[in-house]
Amino acid sequence: MHEQNKGKRVMIDGSRLIIESLARAGADAFIGYPITPANLLYLYGSQRMDLMFSAPDEITTLQWMSGLSATGKLPVTATSFPGFALMIESINMAYMMELPMVIVLVQRLGPATGTATCGAQGDLLLLKGMMSGGHPLPVLSTSGFEDCWELSEKAVEVALKLRTPVVLLTSKEEVMTQKSFSLEKLSAITPKEKPFYNLDCEYKSYKPTDLVPDFLPVTQEKHQVRFNASTHDQQGILQHSNEEAMANTRRLEEKVVEKMKDFLFYELDEQKGAQKLLVAYGISSQAARDALKALREAGEKVSLLIPKTLLPAPDGYLEIFNLYNKVVIAEESINNQLGDVIYGRCKPSHLHFVGSIGKMITPEEIMKEVKA
């Protein structure tokens, strides 16, 4: 945090915090195509990042980002479902090529174009299933201004450490609402290291050390670098399905599952003796915080879990769920996508759901379900 900002009380939105944090953490390029409700991120990104490019569509956006990433830059974009849908094949490409980048996904009401100016939490299952092969894509979800700051930094760190695209999941109400906020609450952010291979001995683009291959950009002339989105061996040469190539494809999954264990973020407010657990992420966690307070004031014993690392789904959440007789998930959808991520289609009877579309879930709706 810059000294002069200490204690400064301002009116601010989440978009500004996200972009500033990403930039401080080391993001150096913003590529965008306009879409509500991600337009503030686009505006701030264009003002703040060293490099900024206006792409003619979202496929181009992701391809330009991938090209920049191959040169050693850390590119960022922000979009909403319609744009994200166009990016999916290219995100698969970047994942396969192991190119670091951050995609801020601002959820809005779907399906399709839906309602551009209405928030939602309807994209989690899409994120879970968007990689061909079922590979997990790291997804971090913000639940308040502090998270816009801290998780954006973490998103950059994950992208660089794991050599992967990362999705920072948020929603309209989180990035477009102005709030009074004290900048004192913001932690210091140090630029994340871009670890490049620096040895003289032979370099193989996809030879892993501890699951993650060393990175080298195509801008240097010491070693040959290959980036490949087709099935490939350690050298990055296209293969049909030989052993080395399959090991590489398997490693991509293992890399994210294993390495994301170092990036397990959640908030757990436990109450002694509570048999009920309230679970909410993203925008709904704000109503959940109010509901928790009111429930406790009314003598109800409740704990609150706010998951922030959403994908790959950490095993730890199920372990926490299992400690309670009643679990209530609040999510601005009609189909309990978080429940699906944790349990699949066979949800246990102690799992309850408060959902909504077209409007935010209120603390009262959550309280009613927890009490019932």
């Binding site: 810059h2 040169t71 109400e173 609402t177």
Partner: protein, 422 residues
Amino acid sequence: MNTQILKTASLPYCKGCGHDLIAKHTVKGLEKLGYLPLDVIMVTDIGCHGIIDKCLNTHTVHGLHGRSVALGAGITFGLENPGKKVVVFIGDGGSTIGLQHIMEAARLNLNMTVVVHNNMLYGMTGGQTSGLTPQGFRTTTSYEGNPFDGYDICALSNKAGASYVSRILGIGDISDKMAIALGTKGFSLVEIMEICPSYGVKLNPKRKLQEVVAASGKEPGEWINQRRTFSHQQGKKIGNLLEKTVEIKKTFKHYLKGPKSVVLSGSAGEGVQLAATLLSKAAMRSGLSITQKGSYPVTVGVGFSTAEINLSQKNINFHGIGVPDTVIITSADGLAHNKKRIELMQGGTLFIDSSLEVPPTGAKVMQHNFRGIGARNAAIYAVLFFALKTGFISTESLFKTIEEEGKAEKLPITKIKEALVE
């Protein structure tokens, strides 16, 4: 260091495939220009031409079908050394699925060379008709001959602004012609005409390349634009977005008890969002926490404009407003947008312009001539009136905010003050 760009002379294509000639002569062209392998970044598309990577000592980037030009464009954005060369290999199929990317790279005149392997059909997927297949040319999906004419990718690229475009027949030594394109500053595209032996030659047995090209009317040639090449045109940057935010210090007192939600609504262009921001900042100046969000139709210049504000002594988590405590309506648009909410109010206060019909409501109604001060000033006047009547915050805090935000000159402050006194 290996100075040879090509690892092997035996390339992985079907016998007689024109891709072989293109790859070898692209490499020869690069070598004629003095490029060392690791100065070259070869971006290859999906298609038969794209399986060349393993034969190259250059950096290789093998992406998606049709996207290689955009991927290559991204690389050019990140290259700081002008001695580097980005070359994209793409097929006729790839150039239509990714047509937008070619047009964009040509328009921006990015420093790169695109080599279009036009073998007149989709080779890798079984010889189907592509967007560049000439009229009358037979493919596995147009057995009677393609009924449509193909795109002229050269004309399109030239029109889009490419520095250099050429169409050449894939026969003989084409390395000098390749070198011209490869040596051009800015965007260059070479369309090389060939016929895929495995599908094209088989299905069009009696036809020669020259004849097919001549019949299509797309003769070899060169097209040049004298244009500035791409350079980073970055606007002025803000080094710290947080410094741009204005500190709001507590200098006034508030008289709010418990949290209050306020909906302010009027017509677009009548300063509703500005009035809401001034109210929010004045509330912060009075020591309150606030949230504020706007709501308006996609066409921001017409129809309603609504702002939702929460005021509280404490930190605000949930900022949604169901049935508000206070509604302030300054125009018919605003009333129409909030009529339902007003009807649901069981208490609280409705401030409404006296020209409007009051809907049935449980709220206390205060009618006032907000628009009398001028439609453009109605919202800010209504907010001041709200402050005066509720006493949640002082009108002084609002006037101070108006002044600090530099809005005082634009508003008839004296007139407003007089109206408030009345």
